[in-house]
Symmetry: C2
Amino acid sequence: MLSDIALRDILSFHVGGELVELRDQAVQHVKVSPDAEARVVDLNGHYVNGQIYAQHFRLSRPAAAFPVLFWHGGAMTGVTWETTPDQRPGWSSIFLRSGYDVVVSDAVERGRASWSPWPHIYDSPPLFRTMEDAWHLFRIGPKAGFHQDPALRRAFDHQRFPVNAFDQLCAQFVPRWTTNTALSVAAYLKLVARFDKVIIVAHSQGGWFAQRIAAAIPEKIAAVVLIEPAGAPAMEKMAIEAAARVPHLYVWGDHCDDNAAWIPYKSDAVAQAERLIRAGGTADIIDLPTLGIRGNSHMPMMDDNSHEIAGMVLDWLARQNRVETAHEGDRATV
Amino acid sequence: MLSDIALRDILSFHVGGELVELRDQAVQHVKVSPDAEARVVDLNGHYVNGQIYAQHFRLSRPAAAFPVLFWHGGAMTGVTWETTPDQRPGWSSIFLRSGYDVVVSDAVERGRASWSPWPHIYDSPPLFRTMEDAWHLFRIGPKAGFHQDPALRRAFDHQRFPVNAFDQLCAQFVPRWTTNTALSVAAYLKLVARFDKVIIVAHSQGGWFAQRIAAAIPEKIAAVVLIEPAGAPAMEKMAIEAAARVPHLYVWGDHCDDNAAWIPYKSDAVAQAERLIRAGGTADIIDLPTLGIRGNSHMPMMDDNSHEIAGMVLDWLARQNRVETAHEGDRATV
């Protein structure tokens, strides 16, 4: 029996972005509603471009000093952190029940953050994630193991992702662009600026952004948890020294070492962790297979041991917070 | 001081949609992460297409018999029902605090529901909503009253939409298509099928869908509240008779009668209400200007009297529920 979640309120907002103008588009007449006359649709005009969407759950009685900001990965949205594909509580609920205020966001271009026309405003066309790509890249099974008939799919032995709910995972995918990095960093900075100090828990591509933000404004970041980060940002010595002021935790699942995409992503991240340690920082690694926990996919927050992995992250955060509280003794008010 | 919201849980899921396959796309090499090597991106393969996203807030102690499903309008997402653009509580919070379980969804193509490539899977390109279009169509001010500089904008006198937060409203807009009606109806039917019986509160284009669904499965719909519906679906006599089993409420803001888009939308909806009444149904209208309440925009759930209008809707629902309870005495369990 799960405990209730008592909320002071649920706030949502868009942050970042700026007005852009589109010109010289032909005016159209479109039947917008199926049973009404066609009306003029004129795409010329102004748009808000480059915003993030965030949903902020504020507990009645938070136990933690800082809210957790959950940042999703590429071609995904904040849904990553909600109910798992097989309908177990997601990390957003687990962290709320553990006393953390939680902020779940959709990155620029994704989900409720919206996206802009190309080639007019964005520089490039979108990329779409196929189920085949996810089967391989998220390390559910061997490349040839996907089949459109669920009964004929072949996952890795001891796979911890709920394979029967793979279609529900794929229903979460959204298109992505590869040319909006600067726009995204700007919006994430503005998101963090709305809080005194935050913990960032980031997945995959979101981990790349979290590392950049930690190096840019370390004084605002109490800790960074990188769940299978897709590599590490290239950083100068000064940026590494700044990032080293923020405790980093890396979490890795299984089968990274025989996947062509994950071999370089993981080795880049491990090299970055070593740089942080050499600069005097904390960079801890939970490598699940090394601990004897086999079969985790790229989505540990959805795997059948997601609750156990959340527990490891919460324990690590509690240890950082003790240090943090002792050093600073401040308390976030939002 | 607002009361706390005690939740049993927060569930989210995608519903509807089916697997589609894309073929004969050229394989690309794309630098997906800014600091990693380019990798193969192959768009050939399977996708989930046509799903809805829903977030279900379940109260610890709901007072109402049925959950409220909030359906947004065209080029918008479920954010319509959340915190207002000027950061007051939205209708989803107001209804939760009034004892209703609440389900906020993103329609097919929109927000966290995702969208599919065209012309490969969708039949047509997306439409984007300009700020100029919204200024006029949402009846914030006269057509020429929009300016990119907020200080130079000219709204209608006594405008109740929080004009200073108009950019925050525009940050909520998402692209839309006009060719996914059948897909959307199918997904909405599947969403409703997950519940015993529901109340639908729908805005603008969402009102068109709500009317269609009420006529299709009246036994599942306790009431329909249409906030400024964008017209009415064309219906045969049998569909009208089915829809007449469901109590309908229509809510209208100001300035409908001098707006070229809203004149036919409203007259179509009013004619539909008259058909429902002739078929023995309940079709009540709250026409705010007729009640002496001037200045409401197309977004009454965001206007400065949004709380008061929510109260009128809640009072009307309570009256329908009394009748409902007396007739049937059943209670939704989800």
